[in-house]
């Protein structure tokens, strides 16, 4: 039975692959493929669950072969199936099939019909990878797939400004969640000296958990960061309503129900790991509780239907966090299902709310329920009301604490000019490469310092590219170079085969080169390719856009690209006692992904300013 688990990932992958080759105008065929894929999946899920229950409901476990031939333990593919997977699997497949059935008609004649179903299948693939994942590595792959499909669905109306801008906003929060996973993964590697399957954490008695405890707390905090970002807990809650830019059914499935509960899944999956840590449990519970309280206030003042559903959902997820932290796994699972179903339903019927509430509206003589502002001491109540209307300024807060500093660091690095690159950094790099090949020349104590220095250079380049507005090609080159410095940094940190570096850099060179070609191609026909505004070139250059998108993914280390495997290998060479280096490298990965998607969005998405839509329609 365990051997069948991989099928649940292969099936959506197959559906997705098939959906790529169907012509755009074959609406029925496109939706049939999606419906068929998910229908078979649902059926198989039901069979598997029945069989599993019949066999005593023991956790199923499937280990794959190690992908890398380098004798590394980094990439063991491992799937598991237990109660949590079963609940997420059945809920997910059921809701997705409902949504697909719904969308078959709802999206009729909509431009992007194929794109919609393709992205839903990609989402479903990512979702299944996550819920079947047996270790952090597999989970991270699904995590990334989910992130990209989210970005694509929020920016479904890609020629409008707000969907694209909000898609970027959400993607940046997702990248933050990625830092959490990356660091948790890195630390766990060192804790167990290799990839550890989640079910082995389960089987470890508490006493066998390797100490020291701060490491456990660190990993748990990273898990909490990832879970809170993905499940829109404080301080990230503001992204959820802003993600509701796509067609209503995609909003319902992603942000109403499935995607937003993935943080909860992560917590439940890792529960055996942190359950013994009272501090961690309190922190998780407190995050959930605080989120519940704050977002309930926000939900109560929302004047738009989708905003209200989003915040109401977040507040319930906060409660689920509390339930998980308290150890009520079954309650949390039931709560998850109920919340997912309810919010999907509410979003799908949300357009009805006008006719329904207007028909039932009280007459002119009716006085409305007073605001909570008046139920509390006035000054306090009023303050709460105003804060709730402003969503407690969470967006501005995160902006101020995170993105603004990052951008100003990037801006202050204005000296990364093309000339400096050629005259200084390339010679230095070549010198570094020479030393890397002759490490005996460098004192053993100096090597980690060099590693750190090179990582700082990499991060600086990425930060510069992130803040870059004008010269887009230079920005791109900086992002490519940053990977080279990372590789260099890693080679000083530990002695290992250069084959790994070549694997890593081959991916970088390939995607970097293709991307540069695309930019050149675009520069020939379009004079403006700066980043100060959106250009919407996807309308006029769809082919270039697709290729460029793939090269962005390649450079950003999207799963299954050589860069991804390389990045993972690089990570495994950072020592347990080097949190600074680990942080720098993960920050570089995250920031570079963000910068890449931003370049793509600015160039190809947004209003097409060159064509007929002259007026940039800023507010829709």
């Amino acid at each position: 039975m365990a051997g069948t688990l991989i099928l649940f990932i292969l099936l959506p992958f197959l559906g997705f692959a098939v959906s790529l080759v169907i012509p755009h105008n074959r609406e029925r065929l496109i939706s049939l493929v999606a419906l068929g894929t998910i229908g078979v999946h649902l059926l198989a899920a039901a069979l598997l669950t029945t069989a599993w229950l019949g066999a005593g409901a023991a956790t199923l476990h499937q280990s794959g072969t190690t992908l890398s031939t380098q004798g590394l333990d980094g990439l063991g593919l491992c799937l598991i199936f237990d109660k949590i997977t079963a609940v997420y699997l059945l809920t997910g497949a059921l809701l997705t099939i409902l949504i697909v059935k719904y969308s078959r008609y709802y999206l009729h004649r909509e431009p992007g019909y194929k794109r919609f179903f393709r992205t839903v299948l990609l989402f479903f693939l990512g979702y299944n990878i996550i819920i079947f994942s047996g270790n952090y590595e597999v989970l991270f792959i699904g995590w990334e797939v989910l992130g990209i499909s989210s970005f694509l669905l929020i920016a479904f109306y890609r020629n409008r400004l707000l969907p694209v801008r909000n898609a970027l906003k959400v993607f940046s929060i997702y990248r933050l969640a990625d830092v959490g996973i990356l660091l948790a993964m890195w630390m766990s590697h060192h804790l167990w000296h290799g990839a550890v399957p989640f079910d082995r954490i389960t089987s470890l008695p508490q006493t066998q958990l390797p100490t020291p405890e701060p490491v456990v707390v660190f990993i748990s905090m990273m898990i909490l960061l990832a879970a809170a970002a993905k499940s829109a807990q404080l301080p990230f809650s503001f992204w959820l309503p802003r993600a509701m830019e796509g067609p209503t059914p995609s909003t319902a499935i992603f942000y109403g129900s499935l995607s937003v509960h993935i943080g909860v899944f992560l917590l439940m999956r890792t529960w055996p790991f942190w359950q013994g840590q009272l501090l961690v449990r309190i922190l998780i519970g407190a995050t959930g509780l605080l989120t519940s309280l704050v977002t309930t206030l926000i939900a109560r003042v929302q004047p738009t239907v989708k905003g209200q559903i989003a915040y109401a959902s977040v507040s319930q997820i906060g409660l689920i966090f509390v339930e998980v932290a308290a150890g009520f796994e079954n309650a949390a699972l039931i709560h998850f299902m109920g919340n997912a179903f309810l919010r999907t339903y509410q979003l799908l019927v949300s357009p009805s709310v006008v006719s329904f509430l207007v028909a039932n509206q009280p007459g002119p003589n009716f006085t409305r329920r007073p605001a909570f502002a008046t139920q509390l001491p006035t000054r306090f109540g009023m303050t709460l009301y105003m804060l709730a209307i402003q969503e407690f300024n969470l967006d501005a807060l995160l902006n101020k604490c995170l993105w603004v500093p990052l951008k100003s660091i990037g801006r202050s690095l204005g000296f990364f000019s093309a000339r400096l690159l050629a005259l200084f950094f390339i010679p230095v790099y070549l010198g570094g490469v020479y030393l890397a090949h002759h490490q005996q020349l460098v004192h053993i104590r100096v090597r980690p310092v060099l590693a750190l220095a090179f990582a700082i250079v990499a991060l600086g380049m990425t930060a510069r590219a992130f803040a870059k507005q004008r010269d887009i090609k230079l920005g791109w080159v900086l992002l490519v170079m940053a990977h080279f410095w990372i590789a260099l940094s890693a080679s000083f940190n530990e002695n290992f085969s250069f084959a790994q570096v070549y694997l890593y850099l081959s991916g970088v060179v390939l995607s970097g080169g293709i991307g540069l070609l695309c930019l050149n191609q675009l520069g020939k026909t379009r004079r403006h390719i700066g980043l100060s505004r959106f250009h919407g070139y996807i309308e006029t250059h769809p082919g270039t856009a697709a290729i460029f998108f793939l090269s962005c993914l390649g450079l950003a280390g999207f799963p299954i690209t050589p860069t991804f495997i390389g990045e993972d290998l690089m990570f495994s060479h950072i020592h347990q006692d080097q949190p600074v280096l680990a942080f720098l490298v993960s920050a570089e990965f995250v920031l570079s992904g963000l910068a890449l998607v931003r370049i793509y969005a600015r160039l190809f998405l947004g209003p097409d300013t060159g064509g007929q839509n002259e007026l940039t329609y800023g507010s829709s």
């Binding site: 004047p303 339903y345 019927v349 709310v353 329904f356 105003m386 002259e614």
Partner: protein
């Protein structure tokens, strides 16, 4: 041009372009209100000319100016016209004629070359936005991105009609007063910096003072305000509408456009202070060359004329078919014996095909068309204490109230709806219990749509069972200045007017059906746009019901006899309502009628049922996902299912494809297949030699049909700016509007799903009357002149006796000779309907 001021030139205070050096707030606010979209809250969706502010100009000049100033697209793309020509949908003969009417000196061949082949690089830089763009250019600040989210959030919370469970602490004195009270009474602020907050609390801060601070140069104030407000036309238009019509909100809120502008300026100051500190220079001081004045005179461009000619040719290629069909109709009406039944329908384009099928199935019956409020204007209170609904055209101001009694129960608000599950504990309980039930219901609806979920069927059994206070009773107190019910003399007057208007004053059949219409749909925030336009976007069944009650009233009949209309005792009026989405019909108050009569009614109902099936089949040909060739009952079931399917964004296609309005006897178009593209208003020229009745008809029909037509026209031409875009991502804001996502501007106009099949042509009024009488009517009716003389609606008069055609161009009638031959005759109706989704040319019905 006129919006910038006057035609007299002013020697001082104006620069070359017409920009004034000083600023007159009253005047600029007035202009803004005129140009902003005038759309009512969703529950009162009423079709109107989207470019109403330009209606005092000739159509072609107006749309060109609108496009150059505001960036709207007002014609199809040149390539689209050329493609229509290639497909033969614009005929060559008509195109040549359109050129010759306009060409002036240049030879035809030159023009043909221009229209068909010459490449034009149209890159339109609208004038709107050209000033405020300098925030980004010179200050590197995207002001809109900072200001809009806060502004929209506060406006929507303030105006919210019942989405949020905690309402805004609004003050009676308006938005700014409420904000001041909040700023004073709390520990936090909507502003990030101090100066803007101080300016708000200091009540002396006025519009001009703030503009002085932000813009500096008074000659730029007007342009700045237009730029600012047209960055979110949806919100500004809604606020301006509510300012002018506070009653359009059920939960009253006092707000004005000026308050919105002041608050927005304060938020701009806040954003600027936050980014730049307090010592930034006003925008006017930082720009070297002033952008072109918004309303400065425009240079004519060849492309505008080319597009105008194409559009004219496109329109007349269709009109010509209709006119050639009509001019071939026999003017002599042979009066048959007694009619089996008479039907009075709304003039709505959707009623046309149903009338055709009823006539076909029962050749002895007669049908009529008139605006669907049937001349009875009143407010309706559907259940005790509920808000009043206006049941007449938007321009009419009724003095009567009709209440429904005996149906006091109200559907309980489902817990499924948002707003009921947003509090923490209730949400916890609901999600664990009803969440699962919700999934089950959802599953059922998606698999079997006919499982009614949240139908907005507004006139089901509920209305049929209720009682109405149609007749005035001295014991009723007046409510809100409205008289409850009508007195007999008032009833008789209304019945008489309607019957004379449609020329039904003798030869009454035993049954006269008065058929209003409405539409049932689910998941459709624009539901009001699907109902009867003559009833302010509400179902017209209630008017039909009231009219029938009046016409059956013994005292009313007595009064009518005295006025020369003798309705025999054997004749009964029955109110009915046609559900245009489902193609079902319900009848009201049949229980009050004698039993012997009911037999006839039942027989007639059979005819109606059959006609409704056929009508559903004809409509189904437009739906790509329904196979029109299936069994007729099955097709009707599929059509019905659309009205209850949550996932159906096109429950019906509403007025899409409307193009013509025929005012005249049924004989004019009875034998023509017009493909549901025509409004039909009954009128008998023989009994109206002076055009008195015609004046009344046109006063109602031109603005109602013209408004519908132009709203479709502009929503189709520029769905991004003048329409509402795709309805798929819409989010309901405060129950009064839709926006994209949660941060977007309100969307006005019609969603793309409603207009995608619409051929954007202006309305052609075809009036059966001599040109002289028609001209006299127009001369005496000033409110028609802009519509007709400026070409927002075309007009052709058909001579009642000779069927000669005369077309109104400018202010004169000229003879019109159709270029096309007589239409083809339909051989097999079913085959024709099953053959295609697109428009079908005019045909003669099978003989």
């Amino acid at each position: 041009m006129r919006a910038g001021g006057s035609t007299e030139s002013m020697p001082y205070g104006e620069d070359k372009s017409g920009r004034k050096a000083s600023f007159d707030p009253e005047k600029v606010l007035g202009q803004l209100k005129e140009f902003l979209p005038a759309q009512a809250p969703l529950k009162d969706f009423i079709h109107h000319n989207t470019l109403h502010a330009f209606q005092d100009l000739p159509f072609e000049q107006a749309v060109t100016e609108a496009s150059r100033i505001f960036g709207y697209r007002t014609y199809l793309h040149l390539q689209e016209y050329r493609a229509l020509y290639q497909q033969g949908r614009i005929t060559h003969a008509i195109l040549e004629r359109a050129i010759l009417e306009r060409a002036g000196e240049q030879p035809l061949a030159d023009w043909l070359e221009k229209l068909l082949d010459k490449p034009y690089h149209v890159y339109n830089h609208p004038r709107i936005g050209a000033l405020r763009v300098y925030w980004k250019k010179n200050y590197q600040l995207n002001l809109d991105a900072h200001v809009h989210p806060t502004l929209f959030r506060i406006l929507s919370a303030y105006l919210d009609q019942g989405v949020a469970s905690s309402s805004f602490p609004a003050s009676q004195e308006g938005l700014l007063a409420s904000l001041r009270a909040m700023e004073r009474g709390s520990l936090t602020s909507f502003f990030k910096t101090q100066r803007a907050r101080r300016l708000l609390l200091d009540t002396s801060c006025g519009l001009e003072g703030l503009l002085e601070l932000v813009v500096g140069d008074p000659s730029l104030f007007e342009h700045y305000l237009f730029d600012q407000q047209f960055a979110h036309p949806g919100w500004s238009g809604m606020v301006a509408h509510i300012e002018a019509h506070p009653q359009s909100l059920t939960v009253l809120r006092s707000i004005s456009l000026q308050e919105l502008i002041i608050f927005e300026l304060l938020l701009e100051i806040d954003a600027l202070d936050f980014r730049l500190g307090e010592d930034w220079k006003p925008l006017g001081a930082e720009i070297k060359t002033k952008p072109e004045y918004l309303f400065a005179d425009l240079q004519g461009r060849e492309i505008d004329l080319v597009l105008a000619i194409w559009q004219t040719a496109f329109e007349w290629s269709y009109y010509d078919q209709v006119l050639s069909g009509i001019s071939g109709q026999n003017p002599k009406v042979e009066k048959q014996g007694q009619s089996s039944a008479q039907y009075v329908f709304c003039l709505d384009d959707r009623s046309g095909s149903l009338r055709r099928y009823i006539e076909q199935l029962d050749p002895l019956c007669e049908t009529f068309g008139t605006p669907g409020f049937f001349g009875v204007e009143f407010f309706f209170e559907p259940s005790p204490q509920s808000p009043y609904q206006k049941q007449c055209p938007a321009l009419v101001d009724p003095g009567y109230l009709i209440k429904a009694t005996g149906e006091a129960t109200r559907t309980t608000a489902g817990v499924y709806f948002p707003g009921r599950a947003d509090s923490l504990l209730r949400g916890w309980l609901i999600s664990q219990t009803i969440g699962f039930w919700a999934a089950f219901r959802l599953f059922l609806n998606i698999v079997i749509p006919s499982f009614g979920l949240v139908s907005t069927s507004l006139f089901g059994r509920k209305q049929r069972d209720s009682r109405l206070t149609v007749e005035y009773d001295p014991s009723y107190p007046t409510e809100g200045g409205l008289q409850v019910g009508f007195k007999p003399a008032e009833m008789a007057e209304r019945v008489e007017n309607l019957l004379r208007g449609i020329d039904l004053t003798d030869g009454f059949a035993p049954i006269v059906y008065i058929v209003g219409h409405g539409a049932s749909s689910v998941n459709n925030p624009h539901y009001a746009a699907y109902d009867c336009g003559a009833c302010s976007g509400r179902p017209g069944g209630i008017n039909a019901r009231v009219f029938a009650r009046m016409a059956n009233h013994p005292q009313v009949r007595q009064l009518l006899r005295a006025k020369g209309i003798d309705i025999p005792d054997g004749t009964w009026f029955v109110g009915a309502q046609h559900d245009t989405t489902r193609d079902d019909m319900s009848f009201f108050d049949t229980g009050l009628l004698p039993a012997a009569f009911l037999k006839k009614h039942r027989k007639q109902k059979e005819t109606i049922r059959e006609a409704l099936d056929r009508n559903a089949k004809e409509r189904s040909r437009r739906f790509e996902l329904i196979d029109t060739g299936l069994d007729i009952r099955k097709v009707h079931q599929l059509v019905r299912a659309r009205s209850v399917s949550l996932f159906e964004p096109r429950p019906e296609l509403n007025h899409a494809t409307n193009a013509v309005c025929i005012v005249g006897s049924r004989q004019l178009s009875k034998n023509l297949f017009l493909d549901r593209r025509s409004f039909l208003n009954s009128y008998n020229p023989a009994h109206d030699p002076k055009g008195v009745l015609l004046g009344e008809v046109m006063k109602a029909a031109v603005p109602v049909c013209g408004g519908i037509n132009l709203e479709y026209y502009f929503s189709r031409m520029d769905n991004d700016r003048l329409g509402a875009g795709s309805k798929l991502p819409h989010n309901i804001v405060g129950l009064f509007a839709v926006a994209n996502g949660i941060e977007g501007d309100l969307r006005t106009g019609l969603p793309s799903q409603m207009v995608e099949l619409h051929d954007p042509v202006r309305l052609l009024m075809i009036v059966e009357q001599s040109p002289e009488v028609v001209m006299k009517v127009i001369d005496q009716t000033p409110q028609l002149q802009q519509w007709l003389f400026n070409g927002w609606v075309h007009l052709v008069a058909v001579h009642p006796q000779t069927r000669a055609l005369a077309r109104l161009t400018g202010r004169r009638f000229t003879d019109y000779l159709p270029l096309g031959g007589p239409p083809d005759r339909i051989g097999d109706m079913d085959r024709l309907l099953e053959s295609r989704h697109e428009n079908i040319p005019v045909h003669l019905l099978p003989s």
